[in-house]
């Protein structure tokens, strides 16, 4: 498992990220046009005009626009963002906005690419949300491995404070908002909303069953708007112009030494995306959607559309939009085994099925690949 990961990392070093040829740039529209998260360039490219537009509106009208746009949470569940916002806005008392600027999967480079190419879009989105739901504090959560990203984001926030876009009297309005960056303590603290909220509150980083919705009782039991980075990065575009729902996907074709990240409109078919990006669909044995949390599909399913419900119903993990192409040389069992190795090592550790169940499956698959498995194991 370690080896495979290592290979992936090496390849990322050798290949340029093909991140600038999206057909419909929404999140990626300023990518490649800034010399590295420079606030002046971001503003020159029309940055913060979404925030400016929002501040001219009533908060209710901002929420209305989000509702109309049809924006859904891109972390995976696809919960309508407008509903989340209005349910937070309906709460009284202190409110928080929390967002994870991290990926749950080591092989997923999407979020880090977003941070490196344009971190402001997501920050701007967070501030618009803050204005809409009447929150004054946003918290950006990073994985324990994202040290570089931590400094990049901190520097970006500092530039914003200096330019009076963050803090008090933002853009000469009454709106005040501040953002903190927090790094996780260990490799289980990532992705999962409840784990991150608990970790921020100083509680043990495990999932909890039957808990209230974060909008009602999130961080410290206060109303909390929780979004993934990609969802927030889509927000400024909604306030600027006509909006189209898109999704960033990462295509991995190990045998052809290709890894690329591209933005696609929701509803595009996977096969078409591969062709457009110049990845041959010949000789595909299978492909996976969702990395270690997703599922493997046969090549006949290449027609599957990139869509919240279609992917999730098929067993993929929409949030973790890594499409891995497996060709002749790769072993499917190894691939599945690797998924379970990751799941078992990075589970939160609360329930016995998550922890020992995945470990047993991994052990069993290992035995199968070594041809030493016991037939009994399959009798349930």
């Amino acid at each position: 498992m370690r080896n495979q990961q290592k290979n992936d990392e090496d390849m990322i070093m050798r290949h340029e990220l093909n991140s600038n040829n999206a057909a419909t740039p929404v999140v990626t529209k300023k990518w490649g046009r800034m010399s590295g998260n420079n606030i002046a360039e971001y503003i020159n490219l029309g940055g913060f005009s979404g925030l400016k537009n929002a501040l001219k509106l009533n908060p209710e009208d901002v929420i209305k626009q989000i509702e109309v746009s049809g924006l859904r949470g891109k972390g995976g569940a696809g919960y309508p963002a407008g509903l989340k916002w209005s349910s937070c806005a309906g709460q009284t008392g202190e409110k928080y906005i929390v967002s994870n600027f991290s990926n749950c999967d080591d092989t997923n480079m999407i979020v880090n690419t977003m941070i490196h190419n344009d971190v402001y879009a997501a920050i701007e989105g967070m501030m618009i949300a803050g204005y809409a739901i009447d929150a004054n504090l946003g918290i950006i959560f990073l994985r324990n491995t994202q040290t570089v990203e931590y400094y990049i984001i901190s520097a970006a926030l500092e530039q914003m404070r200096f330019s009076k876009i963050l803090g008090k009297e933002i853009l000469k309005s009454d709106f005040q908002f501040d953002i903190q960056v927090v790094m996780g303590k260990n490799n289980a603290e990532k992705g999962q909303e409840i784990i991150i909220l608990r970790s921020l509150a100083g509680l043990s980083p495990v999932t909890v069953c039957n808990r209230p919705h974060a909008a009602e009782a999130g961080l410290y039991g206060k109303s909390t708007l929780y979004h993934s980075m990609e969802t927030l990065a889509s927000v400024p575009a909604i306030l600027e112009e006509a909006y189209l729902e898109t999704k960033l996907v990462q295509l991995v074709d190990t045998e052809n030494e290709t890894i690329l990240i591209t933005e696609v409109a929701i509803g595009s078919s996977i096969g078409d995306i591969l062709v457009r990006e110049g990845i041959t669909t010949e000789g595909i044995k299978a492909f996976s959607f969702g990395g270690s949390m997703g599922a493997l599909f046969p090549p006949e399913r290449l027609g599957m559309l990139i869509d919240f419900d279609e992917i999730n119903h098929a067993g993929g993990a929409f949030g973790n939009a890594v499409i891995r192409i497996l060709r002749e040389k790769e072993c499917l069992v190894d691939n599945v085994m690797h998924c379970y190795a990751v799941s078992s090592a990075e589970c939160c550790g609360r329930c016995v099925f998550g922890r020992m169940g995945t470990a047993q499956i991994y052990e069993t698959l290992k035995d199968i690949t070594k041809s030493v498995a016991n037939r009994m194991i399959l009798i349930v």
Partner: protein, 711 residues
Amino acid sequence: MNEFISLKIDNKSVRCKKGSSILEAALMAGIYIPHLCHHPNLPHHEACKLCVVEMQEQGTIVASCSTKAEAGMELVTNSPAVQKIRNLSIELIFSEHPADCTACPKYLKCELQSVAQFMGLRGGRLKTVGKNISSDMRNPLFVRDMNRCIQCGRCVRACEQVRGVKVLDYCHTEVGSSIGIPGNKLMGEAGCRFCGACVEVCPTGSLRDKEGIINDTVPYEQALVPCQQKCPAHIDIPRYIRKLAKGEMEDAVAVICEKVPFPETLGLICNHACEDVCRRGLVNQPVSICSLKRYAANYDSGSWKKRRIVKPQTKKRVAVIGAGPAGLTAAYYLVKQGHQVVIFERKDLAGGMLQFGIPKYRLSEDIVQREIRDILDIGIEIKYETNITNPKRLLTEGFDAVIAATGAQCGSALQIPGYRSEGVLTAIDILEATARKADIKTGERVFIIGGGNVAFDCARTLRRRGCERIDLACLENRECMQASAEEVAEALEEGIRVHPCKTFIRIVTDGKHVTGVETANVDSFSFDENNKLQMKIAAGENHIYECDTVIFAVGQKSETFDDLCGFTVGKANTLVTEANSCQLLGSDAIFAAGDITTGTKFVISAIAAGRAAAMEVDQFLGGQGDIDELLLDRDEQEHFIGRIAGFDKLERASEELLPVSERISGFKQTTKAYPDKTATAEAVRCLQCDLRRDLERVKFWNSYDAEPAEE
């Protein structure tokens, strides 16, 4: 609030409070559903998935611990689908749990074992995933044997959410998750407050008390709070310490007075056996329980007396012989039970050894007499200078019961040659004469025989009376001397010469008067099966200490009544009682308490004996024998104790000791009570072991079987 709902579990109608979970409803009705991660005091966690049940109508399977019971639900606890999940879960749990149950100290007390037994676990299908972590023995009090951990998360929830301490947590490494202390720190370093909640809730043998920490000769609930268990009067120590930590001094006194009527006296002179067993002592040093009692007593305004209950008159009369701590305590509690009590005291002042035995520099007369006045004020009649020669006769004089509490008043002497010479005295002689400010002739060079607290009391008293040269010798070596370590240290500071490991051959005289004591060095000694002393005398010549006064401080005897009335007399003139009773052998209505039955002991033992006698006499006179009272309502315990920086390193505070010159120039109290700040800081050091008692003990499956089915 207490709205009830009905539902059906396994076709049995069950009523439960609205808002309770399905699991709680089932257990309450005596239907056992296997569970491990659920604990009644902890938030639900849904980690073990053993408690799954099937909702009949919907056909869905839910975890019963985290699903609220709703009216009209129909549930099955052991359908095939449920069994499948449950069996897989227990198989998975055991795939990482060591199979050597019998080698585990938790054997037969283990919840996991009990659940496996209930489910009839047959292992061997899944691969064993061993963890091979050796147990962590580095911490005081607790063993962390994470090899046996099943990650139910109870300890984490107890530490984090019940206690607010947050030492235990889920730890994540590259290979997976485990429960532990982030950074693999020592518990103390990580901020542990050693409350024991994690150990109490652990369903396996992975978090345990170190061997010997829990005294298994007493009931578990008592063993959890060793200070209270060890205290002869069972004062609720953690409770009053907690009050002091919060600065509620009067409440603290009320808690002390629930069990003893002499708070300040005990705060000054108690032998504090509680501190010897204090668990904090295993972390660094024990809590200064005794000094804190003294501090609290200084704030006694008597407000607790308003809560005191004196029961209606019973018209029964009890005579108590002797107004020492045992007699006074017995009288006090008997009056509270509604009996009429008369104390007969031979001397002209009450207090017994408190007044005449304990030197004033340890316990001033004012304090003793004030506390005695407080006790007598409850309505005890006392007759001074009345010597009772025949206790039985009192029964014919209108008393329904008699308690003999005459103590051990007679100093004994070793019967070595010359022990009757002039200039040979006993410690009691010196101490009583000093208490009475009377004259007693001692020479310039005094030799004291004995190594107990009384010997040192005597030596230090003589020092204060101006005696310059005082030698003290005893049989024991320095480490084993019976006197407390502080006593010895303070005496040495005051210039007393201490000679351990000596045996006394004879008292040298000039024919009439003492001139010295001949001693030999002792290598070792022991007592044989007949309790007879066996000594090994070291080679070498005997030594003669020159002196003009010899004082024996080798224990006291009781004085027998002139008319023994057929009582059985034991060792050192003690009166023998029925087994586990205060009633004297062969007598009907005559009881005894304190040193007269046990030989010389400590004040707290006498007080405890007085309480026991009061209970028994009350029962004898037709009462319930229940003398316990609550002078302060038990608050909703504050379980959320939170973190305190460097808690394990907090040092024990000692009382300020006067300089030697000031000490020996008079009979001033040698130590000063704590200032407020010190007292609070000292009280905060308490581990609050009693909080652990409030965590519920989980019942095993076999205790549900017995419960009758509810109609």
